[in-house]
């Protein structure tokens, strides 16, 4: 490649895909190297904002369905590692960087109150690494590279969760459980990759797709598929594999919970999408493996079981964690429908749920900051003392239910549409029913916040602006995307079509 004498110098624009990952990746060691606590936060924020800008630029370039390919090291794809940006992952990148840019200002106060000051530098470095890993997973076009960056983000996540131990020591065991589960998941993923490699001899996603298509389904490829799905399922917290999630979300520091809830599982779902649709051809796997009938019941089970558990929680934060599992069920349902609309719904819900959950967890974080706990009887009546925070929580809650006019409504609506389109109307009813469950658990929160008297002797101040503003940006986003439907839906549709086109979309 580089042997050619006529070398065209690359411009900054050409480098955008790599810069997307490189900026946070290089920031993490810089933070450690400089080691000054005053600069740490600013550095992290600048890096995150920069990658947000890059993500927007990338999304603008690929929204029309085109694909950017970047060859790292100048080696052509089957040999070297390739970055490949299309509508789907640009969308995910946009979500991840956007959330991280909003979380960082929020984190400043929240981290100060939850983590000892001497650990702040390393905390932000770990945060940057987590961001790097998620971005790297989302952007890459190489199957093994997914594993490497997945591990970067996972390791950083374990550490970040464990930082909750200064508030509650159970954060440590939560992190440990997640570490074991996550590592098993990653190892399963590697086994799957190994089998794929054995069957095809390549690791590049596009190349893999081609060669699997040529080969048809043999048993090795099928087993590989199973391992990859289970491995990713552990990271996504698909219903029976979800055990780590509630604990991890509950005990992690608030800022970390916001970030993880809004991005980590979403990126894992993206990987699942990428593998099922781009690498294993949809036609192949759904005819041969009848995956839909495996995923579908679990998705529905998740929607109901997790919602039920959420209703009976007495801890706001844990309630939200269980509701996350239920919401993941919606996304999986969309995927298992296998239609254009279904996928659009899944991707749109991925985005909408991301911002909704971020709003809610930010709200919880603020309540925790002021009241010292997220149990219902700790936070009761705070709707009066902290009106802004509580209002944002209500907006988030409404979006979680899927009330018209909020982002959550759009994706659920499209999902119902998709099920009807496919003729599975019982499932549409189930979706509506499970939304009713959401009404119950959200109502409990609203009741606690507004209808109960504040605890005697407490007079909480409203949250600092650095926390309120990010939260309100997200809350307003929930409303904005509830009305301006075409933005998310266009991008999701472009992504869905790209995915459904299978490897053709990759070429």
């Amino acid at each position: 490649m580089s042997v050619e004498s006529t070398h065209v110098a690359m411009t900054l624009n050409d480098h955008l895909p790599i810069l997307q990952v490189l900026v946070p990746l290089a920031t993490a060691p810089l933070i450690v190297l400089i080691g000054s606590r005053r600069l740490t936060w600013s550095l992290a924020f600048i890096a995150s904002a920069l990658s947000f800008v890059i993500a927007i630029l990338l999304l603008m370039q690929v929204i029309d369905g085109s694909v950017i390919s970047y060859q790292i090291g100048g080696w052509a794809p089957p040999l070297g590692i390739e970055y490949r940006v299309d509508a789907t992952n640009a969308f995910v990148l946009f979500l991840v960087t956007g959330i991280s840019t909003l979380v960082l200002p929020y984190a400043r106060e929240s981290v100060k109150s939850e983590i000892p000051a001497r650990h702040h530098t390393l905390f932000y470095a770990a945060f940057m690494l987590c961001l790097t890993g998620l971005l790297g997973v989302a952007i890459t076009g190489d199957a093994f590279n997914v594993f490497v960056f997945l591990e970067i983000s996972s390791l950083a996540t374990y550490v970040l969760i464990a930082q909750g131990s200064y508030r509650d020591k159970r954060a440590l065991t939560a992190a440990y459980d997640y570490l074991i589960m996550g590592t098993i998941g990653a190892t399963f993923f590697v086994i799957g990759l190994g089998m794929l490699y054995m069957a095809t001899g390549t690791l590049n996603m596009a190349d893999l797709a081609d060669r699997i298509a040529d080969q048809g389904a043999n048993r090795t490829v099928r087993a590989a598929f199973a391992f990859i799905v289970v491995g990713m399922g552990l990271k996504i917290a698909i219903y029976p594999l979800h055990l780590w999630l509630p604990r991890a979300y509950t005990f992690a520091p608030s800022a970390v919970t916001v970030f993880l809830a809004a991005t980590a599982t979403k990126v894992a779902i993206y990987v699942l999408l990428r593998f099922t649709f781009s690498i294993f051809q949809p036609a192949f796997m759904f005819e041969v493996n009848t995956l839909e009938f495996i995923i579908l019941p679990f998705a529905i089970l998740a929607m109901f079981a997790a919602s039920f558990i959420a209703i009976f929680q007495s801890d706001f934060k844990r309630m939200l964690a269980y509701s996350s599992i239920a919401q993941i069920g919606y996304m999986l349902l969309g995927i298992s429908l296998l239609t254009d609309t279904g996928l659009t719904a899944a991707i749109a819900h991925l985005f909408n749920h991301g911002i909704t959950k971020a709003t809610l967890f930010m709200g919880v974080g603020i309540l925790v900051l002021r009241s010292g706990g997220s149990f219902y009887n700790r936070i009761q009546g705070m709707g009066k003392t902290m009106p802004w925070t509580s209002a944002a929580i209500v907006i988030g809650g409404l979006s979680l239910i899927g009330v018209p006019g909020t982002a959550g409504f759009i994706s659920k609506w499209v999902l119902v549409e998709a099920t009807i389109e496919k003729g599975w109307w019982p499932i549409s009813i189930l979706i509506v029913l499970s939304s009713l469950l959401a009404v119950i658990y959200v109502w409990r929160v609203i009741e606690v916040l507004y209808l109960k008297a504040p605890l005697a002797g407490t007079n909480y101040k409203e949250a600092p602006l650095t926390m309120l503003i990010p939260m309100w940006i997200l809350a307003l986003a929930c409303i904005y995307f509830g009305f301006a439907t075409d933005v998310t839906l266009t991008a999701s549709r472009a992504a869905a079509q790209g995915l459904l086109a299978g490897s053709a979309g990759m070429m």
């Binding site: 790599i18 290089a26 933070i31």
Partner: protein, 146 residues
């Protein structure tokens, strides 16, 4: 084990050899098995051996923790920096051909050298840092099932 004569003397003799071996593995990764990672581990093992036989205090004097922590970051930056330099030269990230456009293979040599050095530095520092972290915790002596 400060009073432990044989171990002390032998360690003193060996540590140098082990470090030299680490450098050898580092710089001969192109020709024989080994490379930055392995070299880093061996280097760290040399320090760990010294720490085990002498004392954590001594080894932390020789290789102070603040330096270790800076080096952790420096190695990654060296690696990433190699890529960034190639980007500034108008080539792709980590395209070592950029260093000597007339003779790409040479550029590859330099690139690989720099990159391996980065890996080596980070790995050494991280392993030593982990050792320090574990060793400097006060041990727990409550159970007596010996």
């Amino acid at each position: 084990m400060r009073h432990h004569l044989i171990l002390r003397v032998i360690t003193k003799l060996l540590v140098g050899a082990i470090m030299l071996f680490a450098f050898y593995v580092q710089f001969h990764g192109d020709f024989s098995p080994g490379g930055g990672f392995q070299a880093g581990v061996i280097m760290a093992v040399a320090f760990i051996l010294y720490g085990l036989v002498f004392s954590l205090h001594d080894v932390q004097q020789v290789f102070p923790p603040w330096l270790v922590h800076k080096l952790i970051a420096l190695g990654v930056l060296l690696y990433a920096g190699t890529g960034v330099v190639s980007m500034f030269l108008g080539y792709g990230f980590l395209d070592y051909g950029a260093f000597t456009p007339d003779h790409p293979a040479h550029g590859q040599h330099y690139g690989i050298f720099a990159v391996e050095l980065g890996v080596g530095i980070t790995v050494t520092a991280v392993m030593v840092a982990i050792y320090y972290a574990f060793a400097s915790r006060p041990p727990r002596l409550s159970d007596e099932e010996w």
